[in-house]
């Protein structure tokens, strides 16, 4: 019998080791696996490389993980936001490495890793400083740069519904990076708002098929990062549910 559900957040993240490369779903304040991020702070794995579109908001979730000192490097497309003080400060004080990747290249590098593609050529960054040092090739008169797949040890993803096979749905635009990140990690760990009986998600409504998912934990009332930021919430180790 296949049962990918785990009963606690602590169990869910227990496989994460020091030095892991971790994909974290979300865009802005939407689709972030905040509870998994907080449990990873308690778990304590260090020397991590995180991949997300942004670099955290306020002092919760991804930002709290950065502030905890467990992260060596951030790979993202847009680290600046109105609430990115934690990353901004660490970057200026040179306490964290940054790799800036155009958003579409970031998405495609993740997709390529999940699809077993060894790299791909794109026109994005041609003529810009971000193309420096990269292999080039010309197709149909246009110049392209070579980009590598972005494999990860772990993906932490927030979904809406899940079942014990790991089939997933996502809420509204919170889908963003979730489905492609599920495909690209050795171990994909999902927090779902609700775990439903097998068959309750109609096959044509499954967004991410369970083959891409390893562990599912139910988090019935996921925190709103927006509300936490507005209320000046600061997460520190030991506060996870």
């Amino acid at each position: 019998m296949i049962d990918k559900t785990v009963s606690t957040l602590q169990d869910a993240v227990s496989v994460i080791r020091d030095g892991a490369v971790i994909l974290i779903s979300g865009f802005g304040e939407s689709g972030n696996p905040t509870e998994l991020a907080h449990t990873l702070i308690d778990h304590g794995a260090r020397d991590l490389t995180l991949v997300n579109n942004n670099a955290g908001n306020g002092r919760v979730g991804l930002a709290a993980l950065l502030e905890s000192g467990q992260v060596r490097k951030m790979i993202c497309s847009f680290p600046r936001s109105s609430h990115s003080e934690v990353f901004d400060t660490m970057y200026r004080e040179r306490r964290i490495e940054l790799e800036v990747v155009p958003q579409g290249t970031l998405a495609e590098r993740i997709r390529a890793a999940g699809a077993g593609i060894g790299g791909f050529y794109t026109r994005t960054t041609i003529g810009t400083p971000l193309a420096e040092g990269k292999e080039r090739r010309t197709y149909n008169g246009d110049e392209y740069v070579l980009e590598d797949p972005l494999h990860a040890d772990i993906a932490l993803v927030k979904a809406d519904l899940a079942d014990r096979w790991g089939n997933l749905t996502f809420r509204l635009a919170a889908r963003n990076f979730g489905p492609i990140m599920c495909t690209a990690a050795e171990t994909t760990i999902v927090q779902a708002r609700r775990i439903v009986p097998l068959g309750d998600i109609p096959p044509e409504h499954v967004v991410t098929p369970g083959i891409f998912v390893d562990r599912v934990v139910e988090v019935p009332n996921p925190a709103s990062e927006r509300e936490m930021i507005e209320n000046d919430v600061r997460y520190t180790a030991g506060g996870a549910p």
Binding site: E29, R92, V100, P102, Q103, T128, A174, R175, N176, S224
Partner: protein
């Protein structure tokens, strides 16, 4: 350079002027900031589908106070609504739309635009600035047409349209048309051609506010401020 320009367009008027050039049925991506205003001014009778790179097609107007849902946001992380017919999709698909040439028009802001249509809009190259690129480079090369919406000059009066960009590029030769508070300028193989300018400025005045050679003195029309306040 400092005299009052009485018929300079407001940002909303630039947005409205630009919106007139978006055709019925176009799929359009609006960049963060000023370009977002364009959605408010689509001419009656045209059905336009707005794309947002986080994975949304068919965005509607801003939500009412009780409709706000932070799982339904645009690329600028602001709450939006969905129109009937709208769709959600993941980032792989979203950038396939952008990089695969499926977006008809994208509207971007600019720090600088060169005579050859080079765009610089992501970094001022300062040593202390945190580099952040987002989807701008993908949009610049992937969208079929790139419209730039910008003030013609910086607050200090410097030209934003220049022979060569001094800031790091977002993409080379990508801009099709520039919409500013005083002119509409097409980037062509023959250089920058002024399509419209505000009537109170002579062509020479416009040239003096621009850091690159302008063409079209004989053919350019009037840029009339749309009635949108």
């Amino acid at each position: 350079m400092t005299e009052m320009l009485t018929d300079r367009l407001t940002r909303r008027q630039v947005a409205s002027r630009l919106a007139q050039d978006i055709g019925d049925g176009n799929y359009v991506n609006l960049g963060i900031g000023m370009p977002e205003l364009v959605a408010n001014y689509i001419p009656d009778g045209r059905e336009i589908v707005f794309h947002s790179e986080n994975g949304v097609l068919g965005m509607g107007p801003e939500p009412g106070e009780n409709e706000v849902d932070y799982d339904l946001i645009n690329a600028g992380k602001k709450p939006v609504t969905m129109l009937p017919g709208g769709a959600f999709f993941h980032h792989g698909d979203s950038f396939a739309m952008i990089r695969g040439g499926h977006i008809d028009i994208c509207v971007l802001g600019a720090f600088q635009i060169s005579a050859a249509g080079d765009l610089a809009n992501w970094s001022t190259g300062g040593p202390d600035s945190v580099p952040a690129v987002g989807g701008a480079m993908d949009l610049a090369v992937g969208a079929r047409r790139v419209f730039v919406m910008t003030d013609h000059n910086t607050k200090k009066g410097d030209a934003k349209i220049v022979e060569e960009c001094g800031f790091p590029l977002t993409g080379p030769g990508v801009v099709d048309t520039i919409y500013t508070d005083i002119a509409v300028i097409d980037v062509t193989a023959a250089g920058l051609v002024v399509r419209e300018k505000v009537p109170c400025l002579s062509f020479d005045d416009l040239q003096s506010r621009t850091g690159a050679k302008l063409h079209g003195a004989e053919t350019c029309g009037d840029l009339v401020a749309p009635d949108v306040g």
